[in-house]
Amino acid sequence: MNNIRTLFNVYRANFEMPTPKKGLKGSLYTAFGFIAFTCIMLPCCLIVGYITYIMSLALMVENNTMNALLSEVHIISAFSMIFSMLVVFNVLFFSSDREHMVTLPLSHWQLLSAKFWHTYMAESIMEFMVLFSMFVGHFAAAIQSFGAQGVLGPVQILAALIGTLVTPLLPLAYCTILSLILMSVLKKVRNIKVFYHVSTFLLLVFVAIFLLSFRGMGGVNVNNYMDSLAGGTNLFLQICNILFFTVPLLGKAIGSGSILSLFLYLLGNAVIVCIMLFLGYLLYQEGLYTAAALGSRKKKVDADRLKLDLTSVFATYIKKELKVLLRTRAYASNCFYINLLWPIGIIVLFSLSENNENIQHFLDLYREGYSRAALILLLVIIFTSFVASALNSLSSTAFTREGAHVDIIKYIPVPYETQMYAKAAVALIVTYPALILTVIIASFYIGWSLPWTLYYCALALCALLLSIVIGLSMDSAAPFTLWDDEYSALRGNLNSFFNMAVIMVLAVFVCGIAFLTFELTPLGIVPVHLLILVLLIILDIIAVIFGRKIILRNMEELY
């Protein structure tokens, strides 16, 4: 066991990004950390808690105490599986420390165990907070429905606390088990791509189950979902109750204060972890051998037909960045395909809310020209544009992604300015089309006229530009280049997290100005729209002028 602990500590020390601790940069980082916490973590938790509260309250009226909480914990577990799959896969089989660790005189299940616990600690912080908020939301609804007596017993509270920490174990253990099994079953395929499609496959399976739970209900929307939850006929809930079989036990412990259920819950998790370790004992070594022998098919090279044309420096730099982005799985999914979230998300949102009275009512008000509805829509769009531009962390990891070879920026004879513009261009080329698509889809559903569609495209461009400049400035100030695998380049990198926080503050600031001008001045809603666009353009100009200088200086001082 001591070996596992030692390894775990080494992984942890290695994972942490060195941050400036002293001086102005140090205080800035502390401030960013605080902002990130208050602007990302807290709002997320509040929203999740509130949703749980509303859903639980609605179901409790129909005498169904636990299904709301259960279905939400299941959704979190499903997401956790989908997102952890590739992470676990990389951590187990493809991180660059693999070759050093394998040679240590440790058994493979110990290696696996250290990696597993480290990943669990590193990946689950956000999940802990979200789960905690869900439990709080649930308790709030329960107290309101049934009174504090009997709802807040010691076992219930203990169960919620334990559940917060232990629930993320199961999905992660499943991912590990799945990786181990896949690696040995697919050994013959010897092609790395197959492995990477697993998480897409998982996503599709869960989405399919989720959609199937609406069958026979005449439409995919929130009301139907709630009805099927209340009736206990929800297929997603039923399947997940079996798949994440410990969650209903936890539900029982939280709902009725059963110590036995709590005990069974812990036992269930322990059993799965033991199975995982046993499988690791059986399969991990073999899997590592397979992973180390993967490769693509060798092509025959015809020396006379090599493509050797001259491309401009700017274009070749962009091409290089795009190739690296698309060919590195971690970047492809977290920086590239993640942009599809917005166009797809908006379709899902509008089709789910097709029968939702509140949203339909709101849209009717908007279409009738009720200006407060227009204001709310404007605020939502401003906020989403900012978040969408920051979420893919393309600009906030632009330098970090260079990795150990960040030197290349310095010794090639390309002006820093050109390299900076190329990096910015990549972020723009990848993100903006997705934003435009989102606006067009929204305009289709909401019924914007062409000028409004163009206006929102321009708004998104301004927000994106601002976010790119800020991301590049922050990442160039202290790039985190000593990572072991590309996932830690993204996740171990505090810059992208802090960048998100700064962007959110900015979004709140711009939204605040829009709101206050509308409420406190006689300006109508159209002038407010124009005012915001002008404000963003001015901010962009300032950001470009100063950001350019800052980034160039940072690039010069890089090291």
Binding site: K298, K299, A303, L306, L308, K323, R327
Partner: protein, 253 residues
């Protein structure tokens, strides 16, 4: 443009270079040397002596705390682009942009140095053939062996064939035939009136190849001059013995 350097054909010139890592770790202290057209200069010294640090200051990766570095007469800090156009650099770690295929990497570098397609094709074919890499050009570099990566870095650097070559431990990991080819190329390159500066731990290579060697330890230069002069000053000792004497002498101080 520094006219004096052009006149006496100095291609690489280091003047009083010092480097401090962190707040007080002096890795290189007041190094000066120069390397003229037609010369091969070898850098020797124990691990941590500061060789890579000096090379990084020459190539613009590190900014010297004091002193300056000139490549083909251009100050690397003040005229970085002109200076960078004039050298090829092979880093001590060849793991660069491993997602690209060898050919894509070569094309990237050649585009950066603006090598026209008609010059590029014959050079790449020739270099790849000499290093036995022709069949690996369209394979992603992450599937290369260490030595193959090293060879590819050399091929890419030499495709743009600038006056100065700066190579940090270029022989590490090369098989005997590749090492032979590289040494041969270094000689050819110098003979055409260019200069080559490289660091190495293999003293025999330095002895056979270099017109000029620089031995450094603890950030200081211990010896600069020809191998013959060094041997003459220490009769009866081979280069290895001289080297060991030099660095342990420093240690005992």
């Amino acid at each position: 443009m520094d006219n004096t350097s052009i006149q006496d054909n100095t291609l690489i010139q280091a003047e009083n270079l010092s480097m401090i890592y962190g707040s007080d770790h002096k890795a290189v202290d007041d190094m000066s040397f120069s390397s003229k057209a037609g010369e091969i200069v070898g850098f020797a010294g124990p691990n941590g002596a500061g060789k890579t640090t000096v090379i990084k200051m020459l190539t613009g990766i590190l900014r010297p705390v004091t002193g300056r570095a000139l490549i083909a007469g251009h100050d690397i800090v003040k005229e970085p682009l002109a200076a960078k156009q004039s050298f090829a650099y092979v880093a001590d770690n060849p793991d660069v942009l491993l997602q690209l295929t060898g050919l894509e990497y070569i094309n990237f570098v050649a585009d950066i140095y603006k090598i026209p397609a008609e010059d590029r094709a014959p050079r790449v074919k020739d270099l790849a053939a000499r290093f036995g890499m022709s069949d690996a050009l369209e394979t992603p570099m992450r599937e290369y062996s260490h030595g193959m990566r090293q060879k590819l870095m050399v091929i890419a650097a030499l495709t743009h064939n600038p006056p100065a070559w700066i190579l940090d431990e270029p022989m590490t990991g090369l098989d005997p035939s590749a090492a032979y080819e590289l040494k041969q190329m270094m000689r050819e390159h110098a003979a055409k009136g260019n200069c080559v500066l490289f660091s190495t731990h293999v003293l025999e290579v330095a002895e056979k190849l270099c017109d000029h060697i620089i031995i450094m330890n603890g950030g200081h230069s211990l010896y600069q001059g020809t191998v013959e002069d060094l041997s003459a000053a220490h009769p009866g000792q081979d280069l290895e013995e001289i080297f060991l004497d030099m660095i342990s002498y420093k240690k005992g101080e």
